[in-house]
Structure formats: C-alpha cells, structure tokens
Amino acid sequence: MQRQTYLFPLFGYVFRLNILKLPGVQVTNSKMQFMLLFSRQGKLRLQKWYVPLSDKERKKISRDLVQTILARKPKMCSFLEWRDLKIVYKRYASLYFCCAVEDQDNELITLEIIHRYVELLDKYFCSVCELDIIFNFEKAYFILDEFLLGGEAQETSKKNVLKAIEQADLLQEEAEAPRSVLEEIGLT
C-alpha cells in the first residue's frame, strides 16, 4: 500500500494562531482608544474615550482593566496585550495613567504621551497631586483636550499647551471676578 508523507503542517492550526501576518500587508492605523486615570484603590479619576462605546461597555472595560493592572507587580513591563488592544500604563505616586492603543501602535511614544500629560498637569497645578485632579477635573479635561484631540497628539509643546489654558483662565477670571464674592455668602 502506498503511504503518503505529510509535507506541510495542518494549516488549520495556523489559522487559529493567526500568525500569517505578512510584513507589509498590515494596516498601519494608529489611534488611541481611551485613556483612564485611576487610584491605587481602583477609583476612576478621569476617563476619556476616543471611540464610540456604550456606557455599559465603558464601565465594563474600566472595571476589568483596572483590576488587571492593579494586580500587576511594580517592576513589570509597562505594556500588555489585553483583548485585542495594547495597554500602556504607568504609575505616578498614587495614580495610574493608562492608555489603550491599537496593536500596531508605538508603545514607547505612548508612554511618553502619558508623561507629557503628567508634566502638563504638574506645571499647571504647581506639582500636581491626586486631589487637584479630583477637585479640578474639568481643568484636567481641558488640558487633555489641548494636548490630545480625537486620540492624536495635537500640540506636543508644553509651552503652547499651557499658554492656551492660561489664556482661557484669563478670560474666565475677567468674567468671574464679581461672582466669587457673591457666592461666598450664598448657599448654592
């Protein structure tokens, strides 16, 4: 009886592993999906979503991801594959900053996006702490919007971002000056 030899592996396995990625046939799309700030206790301090997701999905993602990251040990690598996303995170004092980017994205530059944002917060709040972000969450959002828009870097110069925010603050103070006195008395 003639016996056949197997020349090639069962490609079924290979499809399951999805390793048939060709160099050059990849999609080079890059985009940040969301950014989360949370405390060591797992409390969300800031969330910015750059992809449309329902409220329920957002809650589930944040819950799962916060758990995953808090379970990691300090010296571990700052990157991890999570579902089909790449997570880049870093801890600053009591706060974790965490970005989800697409598979093809550059991890190190994302890590420095986080750092630049921390620098911006630090400069604006004169050495920022978690409380600043809690009490001035709207500022944290404004700064983020000046720096990143739609998940892409809009302005990477620290000076330019802060200049934009300070200009806005000036407009605000002009408008608010008589108000804040009134409010001191009133129960609002």
Partner: protein, 954 residues
C-alpha cells in the same frame, strides 16, 4: 481642599466634592448625590430663570456625578444653553458636558450643531477651537453631515490661526473615521499635503495624523507626501538637540512628529526617486547610529523617546524588506536590547524581532539570539514578556534549531501560565510536524505534549498524530510501543487514552511479540482506563476492542465477556449500547474472513489538499511547473473547528451499521466523497471526525469539474505580463515571502515554502481601497482549470489563495498569474509572473573541499558551465551576500575555496523526473566592484537559467 484652585471659583462644586469624599459609605454617598440631584432638578425647573453662572455650576456638578458612575437623565438642555453663552467659561463647561455625555441624541444634536456653527463662524479663535474640540470628541454622523465640507476650508485658509488649524486637522480626521463618504478632500488634497511643510511644528504634528489616515485610503492622491515627509524627517533627524526649542523632548528633537513621519512612510513602498530614497536611507542610518551614542540624559524619558523613534524606524525597515544591510543592523540593535535592564525594552525587542524573523534577509541574524531568547522564556518574571519570547522562538524556528526550540517550549509548558498554554500547545504541535525529520521524534513530542498539557491539547492535534502514524509505516511500531509505555502511568490524560486506544487497536500487533505487551496485557491496560473516561472516549475504546478481536483471536473470549456485561450492552448511552451490541454480534457471527475485511487496518489518510485536487491536464509539451490545485484556504480554516457538526455522521454510521448485514459494503457508501474507500467500523465516530477533514472538501472538487469556470464573469483575454514583471520576479529569487505587487488598488503578498520538488504558495490579495472589488478572479496561466477565489473583495479586506506546485522538470519561464476584477465600473486586468524559479527546488548539499573540486572537474563539458562577469548592483557586504546565497536554497560551503573571499555553494535541484546537481562559485572583486559567477550543473539548461537569475541578484 487643594491649595490650588486656579482661575475658577465654583465654590459650590468644591463643597459638593468635599462632601462626597467625606461620605463614609456607599449608601451615604448615594444619599448625598440624590439630595444634590433633587436640588439641581428643582433649580432647573424653578420659575426663577437661572443665570449663566449657576447653570454652569450645576451642569458641572451633574458631570461630576456622572463621572462617579451614576446615571444622569437631565441637564442636557441646560448644557446646550450654555453653548450659546458669550462667556468663555460657560461655553467651555457646556461643551465639556456634551463631549462627555452626549452620544447621538438627534434632537439635541441639531441644537448643538447650531451652536457649533455659530462658534465656527465667530472668527474668535478660542471659540472656534472649543467648537472643533467638541466635534472631534463627539464625532457623530450628524456632525459630519453638518461640518465635513466646512472644516477643510478652515484647515487650509491662509488667515486661520495655527491653533485652529491644529484642531481642524484632527477634527477632520475624526469625521473621516466616522463617515469617510462625507469627507471629500478633492481640491484641498495638495494644500493639505503641503501642511507637512508648515513652519509651525504643532500644525505639522496634527496634520500628519490626518494625512496618514487619508493616505492609507487614497495612496495615489497623497503620493507627494512621501518626499515631503522624507525631507521633514531628514531635517529633524539632523537637527541639534536644541534647534527645535520646545519641540525637543528630553534632548530628543520632535519625537512624536518623527514617529508619525516614519509611520506615514509605512503606508507606501520605498520611494522610487533615487535621491529621496538615498536621503531616507541616510535618515534611517542616522537613527540607528544614534542608538549607539551615549545617552544625553539619564532620564528614562530621554531613552524612551529616542527608542520610540528607533523602533518606528525598524518597523519601516521591516516594511520595506528590501535593505538587507539595514535589516541586519536593526537585528543587531534589537539583540542588544534583549539583555537590557529595562523590562520594557526587552519586551519590545522580542516583539520587533518576531517580524524580523520573517524576513529572509534577517532570519539568520535573528537566529543567533536563540540562547538569549530561551533564557528570557525561563527567567523573565513578567508573563507578558515570556509570551513574547515564546512567540519569537516560534518565529525563528527552522529545521536547524527545531529540536532545541521544541524541547525548550515543552519544558516551559510544564510551568507556563494557564492563559497561554493552549496557544503554546498549538505552536509546539505545528513546529514538531513542520520540522520533523524523523517521525519518532514527532510522536514523542506530541505524546509529551499530551502528558504535560493534556487539557490544552485540542482535537486537531491528536487527530493529526493519528493521521501521521497511520500514513507512515516506519513509525507505527515505535508509536505503539511509546503509547503503550505512556499508558502505564497511573494517571494519564484522557487524550492519551484516545491516542492509545486508536494506535493499539491498529498496530498493537507490532508489539505483541514482547510478553510484557502481549495482547491481553494491552487490552487490560486499555480497559483499566475505560471507567474513568467520557462517553466519546469509551466509544473509541469499544472500537479498539473489536479491532483487538480481529488482531488477536486469543482475546476474543475476554473481550466478548466485557462487551456482554450489562454496563455495556445495557448502557444508558445509546451510542455505547449500540456499539456494544453490534460489536458483540459481529464478533460472534462473522467469519474470520469477513472480520478481517471489516476490521482491516486503516487505509492511509488522503492528504487534505489532495482530496480537492482538480487533476489538471497539461497542454503545453514538456511543461514547466504544474499548479496542481487551487483552493480557498479561508474555507479550510473554517472546517477545522467544525468538529461539533459531525454528530450526524456518527449517527448515520452507527445506524447503517445496524441495519445491514454486510457492513463493509455499507460503510463504503457512507462517505462516498472520501477518496480512499472503506471507513472500517473500528474507529467509530472518531474515525469519521478524522476523516471528515478531507470529506467536505471533496465535493468542491466535483463542483470544480462541473465547469465553474464557464460562469466566471470577466471574459476578456488576460493582459500581457506587466513590464516590471521580471523585476518583481527577481526580488523573489532569494526569498520566499514578501509583497509581490502593489499599486494603488491592490496589494499581493506571497508566502511560500518548498520541499524537494513540491511547493506551496499562499497568495494574499489585499484590497487597499474602501470600495468592493467585484468579479475578482485570479488565474494562473498554466493551461489549468481552477476554482475562482471569492468573487467579491470588500474594501480593506484581504483574501487568500493557495497554490500547490510540483516541479516536473527544469524550466526557465516563470508561470504567469492573471488577475481580473472590477473596481468601480472599470475592469482591471493584470498579469504577473509568479515568483517560482528553478532554484526554489534546491536541496542543499554539504560537501568537503575535496569532494567539491572533484565534482567540479567532473562537470567539465563546456555546455555544462555558465559564466557571467558583471558589475555589482548592490553593496558587496559579506553578510548580505551570505544571506542571499542562503536564500537561494543551496548549501553555502565554508573552507572550500582556497580564496576565502570567494563563495561556493552546492545543491541538488529536485524535479519529478530527475535530480540536477549544481555547483556555484561567486568571486567578488571589491576593488573593481565586479563579480564573476560560475555555475556548473549536470544539466546545461539549468546552468544557463541559474546564471541568468543570479546575475540580477548581486
């Protein structure tokens, strides 16, 4: 309260936040929030009109409550009202609330759009920015409808402030992603591309994200961005670290922009213009050089930014896959990172090397790091890093190191994290089979796999080991012995019992001579596991028992006893009961002859692909390469996981078994599709499972013969081969994988492998547009009839096709591949040469210097030699030359030629009809930048063809 509360004086908000923080319990917090919500609601509903400030404050409180995770169902209207305030801060809070809370509530969107429209036309840059931020944050379809035509104008207008341009660019990007059909760049295209030249770095940074996205979809229209990007990159890379002022980040000039520029270039093939390409290569070299310089700062930010650019540059080098020198340098750089003290760098180096391993030029260089990678697998403390190490080992595996890598992976499997075990098992199984030189090693490996990680061994894996054992005489005895030994372990995995039952049932006779594994011992061993197994395994064991009765008549009484007992013959499971009854009956009434026929040894499994084989007749005389089959491999992937659907097959088999007294005839009928006749009863449902891998494919071959081709839509004649077809072909002489062809619509990637005179080629057709290709057909022009690929290729999708190739005799013309499809209305028709060249069928031959020159002299007839002297077209780098010669497929022999500068290679070209011995000698003359290439082969046409092919490579 924090000391800093800049600019703003929303005291009520601060008090509220403090209150929430002081809540001792979740209940208290909810109570406080409900109180606040009631308060705000009454304010909003109250008769007294609220002033802007109060509105802002309450909206802000609502936002805070929402961000705590509570639902907010009112206040949207008040937020929208804030948008039309002329006070910046009120507007700002209004926009913030909307970007966080509004999804696409259509009623509100109209109001919001109105406010945005007003702000966009206000000519106040801060207001404009706020409005643009809001569009970018919400990015709904309604917004795209309202603003997609307006924003490009703002983006390119001469009088727009830089900050507004930045926001406009990213805003447009967001709209393009939600509704590409609404964003039409048309007339703006060239002005948008020229933003790359803008003086303001911030504008360039923002614009490049937009340009990159648009280029991916319309590469041709944006082609001019390549040279602009290269010159911008070149200026940044060569600038001193202080030139760019605030865009320098920890002594690294414009890292974000650099990464984005490199990423943009990855949307395109290498620049055609020599000057641009030279400049780019220079940039890449500078980036690689900088990695070797001492750091300008000890801060991690400095090295991160620098390395971010480096990794992006390496991605580009890998994407081009055409600069061997840069590929090898990249590999060496990553090699250094493999041992870096920063975990992050080790992780990234492992990840990046994985892609380098697939390039023909750097595969060998990657392999030199094997020990480091194995060490990483063993010692890294972070599972995500270990996972990368395992991936890399898999990617760098080839015949030379397969045994070592498989052994390491197996030993890692014993302690591997549960999350990655299944994947590891598959990888080991693939490598073991792909690189098996002797099949006893393969059997050992798979049995080890089952022993170590039985739970994670999926059905495909153990089906496969059985297929291979059945099909290979030389390994059957060994397999029987090994599996018998493995089964003696007190606790062995059920998958082991399955493999054991099957193999002993087929080949137990091969070890029955040894009294330690006599038939009864074998049976008792199997039966001792029976009660611990699940129903499908028991069914399989019952089939093994009936096979035993045929193999070893002396076990008949014992086995009949077992079948007869109530727990079998009255088993509550129908399948088991039926088998017991039928097998018992079969063993008692059938004559030995009938038994022997029914229970004959399994015929070999047909090669999966061969079952779909449409036998293709050759019309051209003593032809070249025959493409023997063509199949859509997507289908193949789908079938494998369809094990569950096979239930009915099992039932059909069992019932027909019962109803007919002549089981063998009946069994033949069940799977008429299976090319190899009978499916003996022995294996039961599991047999069918293994079998059906070939089963479903067979009918498609029949469909094929019915003349699918006659309905194939485009009927025009295939186009003549492209003028550059030969050049494209030449790129593949020394490599097997890469991009064969690319234009603005279509990209064709190739992966191929060859063994002896056979080859398999995977073609990947990628639709680069966002529009569907209709009537897509691909026809290898080898006078063959083939099944069309999927006729529709969706925008952005990729389809695959597999060609099996057999080399019948030597040849010099590459087979043609014709591709036709409709894009929009137009029929696209192009013909390429398939990169199948005679050297693909090389088998390397190692020989000593003595042997080499002896054979060299034997091949001394003038027509057996072909020689060419030619100028070097590429650099004469030793490593690169070696990589190319290895890629050629023959063995590169060291210490043969007395002149160490020369290269000699030896190999045998395998065709179906004959083997052609080939010897090659390449003598570089680096001063003259010339080569002399000499080939001597036992067949003169081969010498000539190889010489032609190779002269283009160096």
């Amino acid at each position: 309260m924090p000391a800093v509360s800049k600019g703003d004086g929303m005291r009520g908000l601060a008090v509220f936040i403090s209150d929430i923080r002081n809540c001792k319990s979740k209940e208290a917090e909810i109570k406080r929030i409900n109180k606040e919500l009631a308060n705000i609601r009454s304010k909003f509903k109250g008769d007294k009109a609220l002033d802007g400030y109060s509105k802002k404050k309450y909206v802000c409180k609502l936002l805070f409550i929402f961000l705590l995770g509570h639902d907010i169902d009112f206040g949207h209207m008040e937020a929208v009202n804030l948008l039309s305030s002329n006070k910046y801060t009120e507007k700002q809070i209004g926009y913030l609330f909307i970007s966080v809370l509004v999804n696409s509530n259509s009623e509100l969107i109209r109001l919001i759009n109105n406010a945005i429209k007003n702000d966009l036309s206000s000519r106040n840059p801060t207001f404009m920015c706020l409005a643009l931020h809001c569009i970018a944050n919400v990015g709904s379809r309604e917004m795209a409808e309202a603003f997609a035509s307006e924003i490009p104008r703002i983006l390119v207008a001469g009088d727009t402030m830089d900050s507004v341009k930045q926001s406009a660019a990213l805003c447009l990007l967001r709209l393009y992603k939600t509704s590409p059909d609404l964003v039409l760049m048309g007339e703006w295209t060239s002005r948008v591309v020229h933003l790359l030249n803008d003086q303001h770095m911030g504008v360039v940074t923002a614009a490049i994200s937009l340009i990159t996205c648009l280029s991916q979809k319309n590469p041709d229209e944006f082609k001019t961005c390549v040279s602009l990007a290269v010159s911008r990159l070149s200026r940044i890379v060569s600038s001193a670290s202080t030139d760019l002022q605030d865009y320098t980040y920890y002594f690294v000039p414009a890292p974000w922009l650099s990464c984005k520029l490199l990423r943009l270039l990855q949307c395109y093939p290498p620049p055609e213009d020599g000057a641009v390409k030279g400049r780019l290569v220079e940039c890449l070299e500078t980036i690689l050089n900088k990695a070797q310089e001492p750091p300008k700062s000890k801060k991690v930010q400095h090295s991160n930014a620098k390395n971010a650019i480096l990794f992006e540059a390496i991605s580009l080098i890998i994407h081009y896959d055409s600069e061997p020198n840069l590929l090898v340098r990249a590999c060496n750089q990553l090699g250094q990172f493999l041992q870096h003290r920063e975990t992050n760098l080790r992780y990234l180096a492992l990840e990046s090397m994985c892609t380098l391993a697939s390039s023909e030029f750097s595969h060998e260089a990657v392999k030199t790091h094997i020990e480091t990678v194995i060490n990483a697998l063993k010692t890294e403390r972070d599972v995500s890093v270990r996972q990368r190490a395992a991936d890399l080992l898999y990617a760098m595996c080839d015949r030379s190191n397969a045994k070592q890598i498989v052994a390491e992976m197996l030993s890692y499997l014993e302690t591997a994290d549960y999350s990655i075990r299944e994947e590891m098992v598959l990888k080991v199984a693939i490598l073991a089979e792909k690189y098996a030189v002797d099949y006893s090693w393969y059997v050992d490996t798979i049995l080890n796999l089952i022993r170590i990680a039985g739970d994670y061994v999926s059905e495909e894996v153990w089906y496969r080991v059985i297929q291979i054992v059945i099909n290979r005489d030389d390994v059957q005895g060994y397999a029987a012995k090994t599996v018998f030994e493995a089964l003696q372990a007190p606790a062995c995995h059920e998958n082991m019992v399955k493999v054991g039952g099957y193999i002993l049932g087929e080949f137990g006779n091969l070890i029955a001579g040894d009294p330690r594994s006599s038939p009864l011992v074998q049976f008792n061993l199997l039966h001792s596991k029976f009660h611990l197994c699940s129903v499908p395994t028991r069914a399989l064991l019952l089939s093994a028992y009936i096979k035993f009765i045929n193999l070893f008549p002396e076990t008949k009484a014992t086995i009949q006893e077992v079948l007869r007992c109530d727990s079998q013959i009255r088993n509550s499971d129908v399948e088991l009961q039926q088998r017991a009854v039928e097998y018992l009956k079969l063993s008692s009434i059938a004559s030995t002859d009938v038994l022997a026929t029914v229970l004959e040894e399994m015929p070999p499994f047909p090669e999966r692909e061969s079952s779909i084989l449409a036998k293709l007749k050759k019309k051209k005389g003593p032809g070249t390469v025959s493409v023997t089959d063509l199949e859509d491999s997507k289908r193949e992937g789908g079938e494998l996981n369809g094990g569950g659907e096979r239930g009915p097959d099992t039932a059909a088999m069992a019932s027909s078994n019962a109803s007919t007294p002549s089981p063998s005839a009946d069994l033949l009928g069940i799977r008429s599709a299976a090319p190899v006749g009978a499916a003996p009863a022995s294996a039961g449902s599991l047999l069918v499972d293994v079998f059906s891998e070939a089963g479903p494919a067979a009918p498609s071959a029949a469909v094929n013969d019915d003349g699918f081709l006659s309905s194939a839509p485009p009927s025009e004649d295939p186009a003549p081969p492209l003028p550059e077809a030969d050049e494209l072909l030449n790129k593949f002489v020394c490599k097997n994988n890469g991009v064969l062809f690319e234009n603005q619509l279509l990209q064709i990637g190739i992966k191929s492998e060859y063994r002896q005179n056979l080859g398999r080629m995977y073609l990947f057709y990628g639709n680069k547009t966002s529009v569907q290709f209709a009537s897509f057909t691909t026809t290898p022009q080898l006078n063959v009839q083939t099944k069309p690929v999927e006729p529709l290729v969706e925008g952005g999708a990729q389809i695959q096709q597999v060609l099996n190739i057999e080399c019948l005799t030597d040849f010099s013309d590459a087979p043609l591949l014709n591709i036709k499809f409709r894009y929009g209305g137009a029929l696209q028709n192009l013909t390429l040469k398939l990169p199948v060249t005679i050297n693909k069928f090389f088998q390397p031959t190692e020989m000593t210097s003595h042997d080499f020159f002896q054979r060299w002299k034997q091949l001394s007839q003038p027509q057996q030699e072909a020689q060419k002297i030619f100028k070097a077209n590429h650099g004469m780098d030793t490593e690169v030359l070696k990589a190319k010669l290895l890629g050629l497929g023959s063995a590169l022999l060291d210490d043969v030629d007395p002149n160490p500068e020369n290269y000699v290679c030896a190999g045998v070209i395998q065709t179906k009809g004959q083997q052609v011995g080939c010897l090659l000698r390449l003598e570089p003359n680096s001063q003259a930048q010339m080569y002399r290439l000499t080939l001597r082969c036992s067949k003169d046409s081969v010498s000539k063809r190889l010489c032609e092919l190779l002269a283009e490579q160096f």
